[in-house]
Structure formats: structure tokens, C-alpha cells
Amino acid sequence: MFTHFLKRLSFALGLLLIFPIVFVYLSWTDSHLEHWQHLFATNLSEYLFNTMLLVLGVGIGTFWLGVSCAWCMVHSHCYARRWIQIGLLLPLAMPAYIIAYTYTGMLDPAQANPIAYWIGQIGDIRSLVGAILMLSLVLFPYVYILTYNAFRRHASTYAETSQSLGLTSWQYMVKIALPLSRPAIFAGVALAMMEALADYGTVAYFGVSTLTTGIFRIWFGMGEASFASQLASILATLVLLVLILEQFQRRKSQYYQNKQTQRQPLSSVSKIQKSGVTFYLTSVIALGFLIPVTQLLIWASAFIPQTDWNEYRTLLWQTLSLGAISGAVIITVALLFAYTERFYPRSIFRYVSQITALGYAIPGVVIAVGVMIPLGWLDIQINALWYSWFNEYIGLIFSGTIFALVLAYCVRFINIAKQNIGNALIATTPSYDDAVMVLGQSRWVLFLKVHLPILRPALLSAFVLVFVDVLKELPATLILRPFNFNTFAVKAFEYASDERLMAAALPAVSIVFAGLIPLYFILKNIYSEEK
């Protein structure tokens, strides 16, 4: 009974979440032949080419940074290991568009700064390569976290076996560690690639024409929302391909589950090597976090005298509560989905659930429209009904409220939560379920007393990732928020798009620090294997 209710609820929620995505595809019912001809003749090839290059570049960039850092942390020595471990996660709190604004401001040609001049000679940061660098610097922690844990899982048994078989570390990495960790690495790279596909802020600021900027251009410039949706559906299809690849990898990965997580005794290395590794890791952290944050702080401090602290407090409260509410809703829904999939592995719900993952790569603005229009329709229907009974309108219920905003975040970020929770749920073997039942306990007890405590780290990290992403999210927030409702991201954007980088610094740095608070809490869990 209960589980049937669960299944129906999941189905209803799943359909609600995929509707905005389906809505994007529904745009094909309108014909825009003339526009397509124009686009084919002009910019389409450039959009596609740049998008491919960007995604590929970010894939390679995050792979390199994520895997190399994970390797250094697991299989080599460095100084201040504890600090570096924390530092490698910090770039997650940094929105790509803000790091882009910051570096642009720092490397401004007008500044008489020798470093800026020197870098300016190599090339302009505001380019495709620059966008790839910026995105890679803030997205690599996704790859790093997953790879780090995968490397550690294999470290004890396989690394020692390989050493005993006379393999060098390089051979071990290429022949054993990378192939074994491939599913984890790929999952991280896929996340980063999807973020890159959905990115608008960075590429728009750097003047790189991609599918997302094309979508905005068509929507805003031509006022053709449905044509823009058609373009967005191409983007969603690209994501679908990435996801299918990732699923394919994951299916293979189940054979590689290995419970041993003993700590591998690190072999000793020379001081020079240790310093080199420390230097490398520190520079990654510096580039992805320390340097831009310092710059932002310097700019922000110049604006502190002009800041209205009452307004700032409201802003802080609104931003944090929005993040917390969304995080709680999203992990609840993700948990519901994960259980429905576990109890009904053969149900077609699986496919519904998989489609919801697409939301992650659809630009926020497209999701916002996909959420807004159906909810507006729903509101109109309810009002019509209400009018027929009470002869008055009650106004908007869903659109223009927090509900719409949270729904949009749910569509966009459910995938992050699902990935985290799904992976953790696999670890709760079915024999736990049997053991609980045989001890005369209900499924509720199974969930509350056994699964929930075991899943807690995963839930917490899912919550934090969603929380941080909601803090960073801009386009959907901008379009869907209620009256008098602001977030740091909206504020930072308003100043930055008005080309007032210095004024944007305070809200921008606030996003970063607000994201750091919860990040601190998951640090323990991510590195929990090391006691």
C-alpha cells in the first residue's frame, strides 16, 4: 500500500519535473523554417563548433586537473596535506561567471600591471580558450572528488599487488588505476561537461558564440521564444548523449565495486618531489580560488563604506533560506526517486527518472520558461474554476512565487542529488533490507534507522552541492523570483552587467563565502574514510 503510494507520488513528481524539459521539445510544433535557413546560412556552424570545442576543452581541462590532483593526493606526498585537501574543493563555491569577471578585471589592459601585460601578450583571456580555462578551474573539483575516492578504493590492494609485480607508478596509473576508476572519472567529467554546456555567463561575457548565447540572442534579439526553444532542444539532445555514455560506463562499473578502503602506506619521496607536488597543488587552488577571491575582497573592501547593511542582511537571509529550502526539497525528491527505482527496478519510472537528469544541462533560462508557462496556465485554470464558484479571482498561486523558483531549481539540479544518493544507496546491500524485515521491523524502520544513517553523508553532500548551485544560479532566479526578492547572484549580475565590476564584488564574494559554510560540513564526509 505504502510503496504503491510512493510509486504514484514519484511518477507524478517525475512527470512534473520532466514537463519543462518536454516543453522545450514541444516547441517543434511551431514551424520556423525561414529562421532555420537564416541560421544555417549564418551562425549555426559557429555555435555548434564553439560549443563542441568548449565542452571538449572543459572535459580535457577538468580531467587533467581533477585526475592529477587526485593522483597527487592519493599516491604522493605534499606539505600541509590537510589544508590542500580542503583547498581543492573550494573552487566549487566560485561561480564561473564571477571568476571570469574577476580575471578580466585583473588582466585589464588599462592597468599598468606587468603580470597583466605579460599575460596579455600570450593571448586575450576573453576568448574560447579563456572560457575553457575559467570553467575548468571551477568545475574540476567534481572530477577530483569522485576520482580521489576511486583511487583510494583501489589504492591498498591493487597498488600493492602492482608494486609486488614490479610495475612502476606510471604503469600502475595507466594500466590499473585509470581503467579501474574510469567510471568515476567519467561521471565527474560528464557533470563538468554538462555545466559547460549550460553555461551562459562566462561565454557571453567573453564574447564566445555558443548554443546558449545563440538561444539568448534569438529569444531577446528576435523575440522568438519558440525558435529559441528549438535551439535549446538541440542542446538538451547533446546532453542526452553525454548522459547515455555516462550510464553505459556506470553499468560496467558495478563489477568494480570493492569494499576495501584501507589506507595505503605511502612510499617515501624526496623533498624536492614533495615540494614540487605541493607547489603544483597550491597553484591550482590559487588560480581557482585564492587569487580571484583576494581580488574580489580588495574590490569589495573599497565599496564597504557605501554598503547598506540592512539591505545586505535581507539579501543574505533571502539567499540562504532559498538555498536551504531548495536543497531540502530537492534531496527529498531525489530520495523518493531513488527508493522508487530500488523497489520497482523494472518499472518505466526508471526512464522518467533518467530524463529528469537532462535538466542539469539545460540553461536556467530555458527551464525558467518551461516552468513559467505551464504554471501560468495552471494558475489561469484554477482561477477560472474559482471564479465560477465564488465570482472572484484569487490571483497567481504557483507562478511568481517561491514555488515556481523551487520547481525550476528542482528541474535543474535534481541530477546532482540523484547521483550522490543513488551511488550511496547501492552501498546499502539488499541483505540489510532482509535483515530488518526478519527482525520484525517495517520498511519505515528500515529507512529511518538503517538507510538514513548510512545515507547521511551522501544526503549531506547532495544538499551542499545543491545549496551551492542554487546560490550560484542566476538566469532562472532572475526570471522567476517574486516581488522584492533578491539573491547575491542577482545583485552581482546586476552590477556586473552594468559593467560595475567593483560594486559587484561584495555580492560576488558573499556567494563564495556563503557556499563555503556548508562546504565545510561535507569536508569531513568526503574525506571520511581517513580517520
Binding site: T429, S431, Y432, D434, A435, V436, M437, V438, L439, G440, Q441, S442, V445, K449, V450, P453, I454
Partner: protein, 347 residues
Amino acid sequence: MLAVENLEVILGRDKIVHSCTFDLLAGELGCLLGPSGCGKTTLLRSLAGFCQIAHGNISINDQIVSSTAQHVPVQKRNIGYVMQDFALFPHLTVAQNIAFGLHQYEHNALRLRVNEMLELVQLTQFGDAYPNDLSGGQQQRVAIARALAPAPSLLLLDEPFSALDPALRETLVTEIKAILKASKVTSLMVTHDQSEAFAFADKVAVMNQGAIEQWDSAFALYHCPKTRFVAHFIGEGRFISGTDDGKNIRTELGIFAKHNETYEVSKTTSIEVELLLRPDDLVFASDGAFSSIIQSKKFRGSHIMYELAVNGMEERLLCLTPSHNDFAVGSEFCFDIDIAHTVYFPK
């Protein structure tokens, strides 16, 4: 206590278990023994109520818990179950794990019961430890304590020793048996290891391809196997050909009296049969009636197992003899035959 009648279990399209009938008396320790894939775990899981049955019925304490019409849910069967991987909850302490099934106990009673259980499995000082801090054998005892804590009327154990170090198994089997006997719980274990089964159980069911071939004491399974599969699977031995003339089995190694009939014999014609010779049926004697050449030998501590070739016979024989009778391979070996139970099957 436990009665299983003509049980049949179908999973998907495959008939995993069929024609199983057996029963256990209160306090008895039973064992399902068979090669892997014979359906013994499925049978155990259907007793627990994890899977529905297709035919027959299962009753515990004279109450039908599973039949085609009825299925008492797992939670209401009052059984204990020890998983192959123990399934100890890693985030709970040993004491909390044991207390998990004691949801109807009050605080003090709960504490008492948990302590009682810890004492039973001799882990009193480990109540606050986490499962991951314990050795395999200790984890297993916790799993058993957890299963026994709610005082189940029946305890089911799924390959409880397979996850453990083989060197430990023998002592553990005896320890667990003592614990179960002490708590007087009716138990049924699944295993593929016959020495475990013999050490543990009062009664053993030998299973093959989903069916129970024989449900008997260990002694009977060894000495009076009812099917050729049981004769092969349990213990060692070799078959030699002979003929059944109605009263005796005639072979090249002599004439042996029949004890019981395992098949219908017509009175007029004699039947070609195979007679089972266990290694202990052959007794070394320097002036023995039969002479043979030693083909190979295996030293087993107190005994030596010889493989022998008797002149003029195709079949090789086995003989287990005290190890002071030490001979080289290729030398002559004389023996007598002393069969207590004549076991034979038609060819």
C-alpha cells in the same frame, strides 16, 4: 516444529525448488546440504518468507505460514535469519545491532536481554564496539546474537561460515552449535560443506537440482545413502559391479548379504548392480584374502588413504588404514573386506 510439505518455488520461469518434504522437531539442528546452485538458499529464503511459494505448504509450530493461498509476511513469522555477509549495520554498535529486533522491549528489559545475548556469544566486553572493529568470527557471533535476541521460534542460517577463514571454521561450528543448543532454538543451516553439516546438524537434507534427495542423520547419509547422488556426494568410496540374486550381492570380491531393498527385484532373474565400497570397508591385513598393488597414497595424519588396483578388476578401490601401515607406491597391499551396510544401486 517446522514442517515442509511438497514445496515448490518458481522464480521467474525457473523451477528452483520442487518436491521438498521434511520436518524438524523443536530444538533440533537441521542442515540443507548440496552443491552450489541446487536451490538450498532459495528454499531457506522461502521458509523465511522472502519469496512466495508455488506449491505445497510450510508450517511453523503447526501454523501454516506459506501455502499457495496464504503468505504470512516475514515480520510476523517470528524467525531469526543470519545472512551470508552477516548484514551487520555498520553505523550501529554491537549492542545496538543486537537490540535492533527488540522493539517491543522496555528500556530495562532491553538492556538485560542484550547483555544476556552478549554473554551467550561471549562478547560482553564488545557491546560498544562497532562491527568493523571485530574479527570475522566475532561479527558472526554478533549476527547470531542479533538473530536470537527476539527469541525466534526458528533460526535460519545462510552459509554462515563461508565468509570466514577456513582454519577457524571447525572450532566456530562447534561453538555456534553449543550456543544454539544452549538457547534451545530450532535451527536450519544452509551449506555446501559436508564436514560443516556433519559437525553441526542432527539431521541433514541432501539437495540436488532443487529437490531433497534424502533427509536423514549424518550416519545414515553416509552408511545408508538412498540415491546414487547421495552416495557420491557424501563421503568417499568406489563402486564395483556385481549381480543381485535376490538375497545377496555377488561380486568378484565376494558375496554380501542384502539388508534392505532400494528397488523392486523380480524373483526369477538376477539384476546387474553396483556395490559401494567405502574406504573403511577395506581392512588392512598382512594375510588378507585379497591382494592388490598400491597406485597412489595420501597421507592424512592418523590415517593413510591408499588407492588400490586388484588383479583382474577394472575398478580402483580406496582403503583408509592407520598410518603406521606405511607402504610405498607400487608395492603389494593385502586386505579383508568388512561391510556393515551393503549399499548398491542397479546399473
